[in-house]
Symmetry: C2
Subunit: 254 residues, 2 copies
């Protein structure tokens, strides 16, 4: 089975694979500039997918001032918008931050919180903490605030009846799609969580019912780390997966 989905509007870069197009694709548009999505992912496509997934890093210090092309930004946002969402409610909004004065105010919110955070660590750990740059708010040309509308879809949403937090989780899925798509576009993303969300909300005039889920710094980078920066800098090692997996019930060793 082959599928053509109408991505031509937002994925102009994608080229048609002719051999796939001939295998019975359903043409939904008159002009074919999109991509044929064959339901079978091949070994090569899988490798390429994993290269993006394993090459993704959280970026704080490597942002370049170069602007991000509009079409690249749109593809990244479309990838976020195609995340799974509870009851197909698509509860997210994206606030793009480019104004240098607003970014300055947000940078100050981060600095304020980061000073408080540093004090919570003891001795050597505090010294280490102070040496790690944790946000590129001013360096990255674009910041994006991603929010979740807790009322999107009305009072009863399919799939949210017993787990009301599912709208927030859907929004986090959109954030992760965005982070991976950015890596596929060779664009760096840094998630800034050291910040008072209430103060951010009032700065950006975000209404009470709307939840801020993520604040991201976005831009071209000088390089991506081989491994997570916190691992490279000796803050924490990667856990062995085997110890995190159990079968048929919770592992009492954990």
């Amino acid at each position: 089975m082959n599928i053509l989905i109408g991505l031509e509007k937002f994925l102009p870069c994608l080229q048609l694979n002719k051999s796939m197009a001939l295998k019975g694709a359903v043409f939904k548009g008159t002009v074919l500039k999109g991509i044929i999505l064959n339901t079978i992912i091949t070994q090569q496509e899988r490798n390429d997918f994993y290269k993006v997934l394993y090459g993704r890093r959280d970026v704080r210090s490597e942002f370049l001032p170069d602007s991000v092309a509009d079409e690249v930004l749109e593809r990244i946002l479309q990838a976020a918008h195609h995340a799974p969402s509870v009851g197909f409610s698509q509860p997210w909004n994206f606030i793009l931050l480019r104004d240098q004065q607003i970014k300055q105010s947000i940078h100050r919110l981060h600095q304020e919180a980061n000073a408080e955070a540093a004090e919570m660590f003891a001795d050597k750990r505090q010294q280490d903490y102070r040496q790690i740059k944790l946000a590129g708010i001013l360096d990255a040309p674009i910041n994006i605030c991603i929010t979740c509308d807790r009322e999107r879809g009305g009072s009863v949403v399919l799939g949210k009846t017993h787990q009301p937090e599912m709208d927030i989780y859907s929004t986090v899925c959109a954030v992760q799609n965005l982070q991976l798509a950015a890596r596929a576009e060779n664009i760096g993303v840094g998630w800034v969580s050291i910040m008072d969300k209430q103060k951010l909300k009032s700065l950006l005039k975000i209404p009470e019912r709307i939840e801020v889920v993520a604040y991201l710094c976005i831009g071209h980078v000088s390089q991506f780390y081989d491994e997570p920066e916190l691992q490279v800098k000796g803050w924490k090692d990667r856990t062995d997966l085997a110890g995190l997996v159990s079968t048929d019930q919770w592992d009492p060793k954990n």
Copy 2:
């Protein structure tokens, strides 16, 4: 810059791209069975990544009984384990559910919640709701419960000081990595949220401090839908992205 990361243990399927290996890769192992991660993602690799991302669907009715190979399952779990996590805390655990009796009990939890959920919709909407199958718990050969340990990493975790929910969000990122990697492996995933989490926790002997984030059904499928099932079945349409994006502050129209 080229990178070799030691994926040979868990990604035995990945083949070495020789032309990339010659471009100055850093060899970290003696036997090279892994993958070269060149930091530049090419146009072709990006297309392949997007094919996976846009081809992902939430699966409920198309599961086949065929078992999922261990190495495929391990790659999917490793992809989840390589999600970003706050302070590199990796707060997740994975409980694999294969026992038919346990799955039966969980299926009953879903049925119970689903009957309550149906009653919340009015008239025609309730009829439609009752006609959509919303979980493949018994059909899928494996189910996975993904949890978040709220105490992983101790009482002060870098990045969690001002947003304690970041550990939950990290776990959702792992869920989304898992969903995408499964699609890359031609494996279907269905996220079941119509269920009482407290009852699920006691069934699986999950301690109080551990939060259940996602319950997933996993298996081979007869097909993937072209578009989200809820869209195909007329439950809800995709929103236009343009209306969800604003600049420098919240859009008062939303």
